[in-house]
Amino acid sequence: MSDGFKVLYYVNQFFGQIGGEDKAGMKPEFHSEKIGPALGFEQLLKGEGKVIGTIICGDNYFNENKEESLEYILNLVKQEAPDVFVAGPAFNAGRYGVACAEISRAVAEQLNIPVVTGMYIENPGLDTCKQVAYVVSTSDNAGGMRKALPAMANLTYKLGKGMEIGSPEEEGYIARGMRKTIIVEKRGSLRAVEMLIKRLKGEEFETEMPMPVFDVVQPAPAIKDLSKATIALCTSGGIVPAGNPDRIQSASAQKWGKYDVSGRDALNAPDFYTTHGGYDPVYANEIPDRVAPLDILKELQKEGYIGNVYELFYTTTGTGTSVSNAVKFGTEIGKELKEAGVDGVILTST
């Protein structure tokens, strides 16, 4: 196999079998063996490619020390000089997805090495890398690993062998927003008329040029006088009253909660804690204000810096929560805040 193409693999601390959240702060490391998904990956390369090593980095470490991590990883990739770089799949994991995306983009743009990764369509990392990497469309959780890896390996194989890559539909990757010239049988005018007729008949038709969807909300006007303003506190960090009375899910939240904090000076333990999965809860459970700083807002109110802290505190968990649920929560919470005459909102995320 010595003549085969070389693949270098990137995973986080979890898929790198180092550990869970307690290891999310680990610095990037290089291992010359195949670890986690990299192990089975080589077998999918039809005996023509070799995984030469695995880079493992903690999700928190990468996101909190991005430049340093990227520099270290890029140097490693340069040294190992793979023919194809593979990261993930990250499914719908936010921090892991952002790490895969940043690394993928850097490797593709700065080192000119083709990159394959995998993500769920709502992963926040997707937009960072989809134009320069092949991002296989995966399910939202690791249950989709067995489906994701063959598609990623197939792309890796083709890139490693210098073969032509087919369309996103054929190969299972997310459209890169590029246009390619292809030869088709029917000329444009004929295709357009056919599409129009289908549309007039109310039949299904497929556009040849999907329009990008932009949904930008303009910044709301600033508060004129803070000393008269009511500020509401909101978090996606899962801070809830002890016992989690509304049973807000620790991941993939289906609901949000609101709690009267008008009589409190802080969200202190043990009255409050976090129910959020996916990050180390020790610091938040010790002092919940580290996630949702009610203590400071109340101080600012006492000092007259702000007029009032809104009596209700809004909370949910952000991890794995679908975009559609997040939109729903935001719409519901925003409506209440608007009706209550709240002037501004602080939303914290973990």
Partner: protein, 76 residues
Amino acid sequence: MVKEIERYGIPIVHMATITTISESVGANRIVPTVAIPHPVGNPSLKSEDEKIMRKAMVKRAVDALATEISEVTHFE
């Protein structure tokens, strides 16, 4: 959530550590924070110092709400 709340015309500031996610979810006012498990805290500081730091960050967020902006703005 940030985007939908702002859609009602209420200014909102997102305090988060991974600011690339803040931008991708459509936050306009962003205050970068300390770390994922403790965005507005720092357990390695003495408790008085941690509180001073948190106050400075929250004040920055409140000030951001009182600042007119026309595009995505990081308040660092």
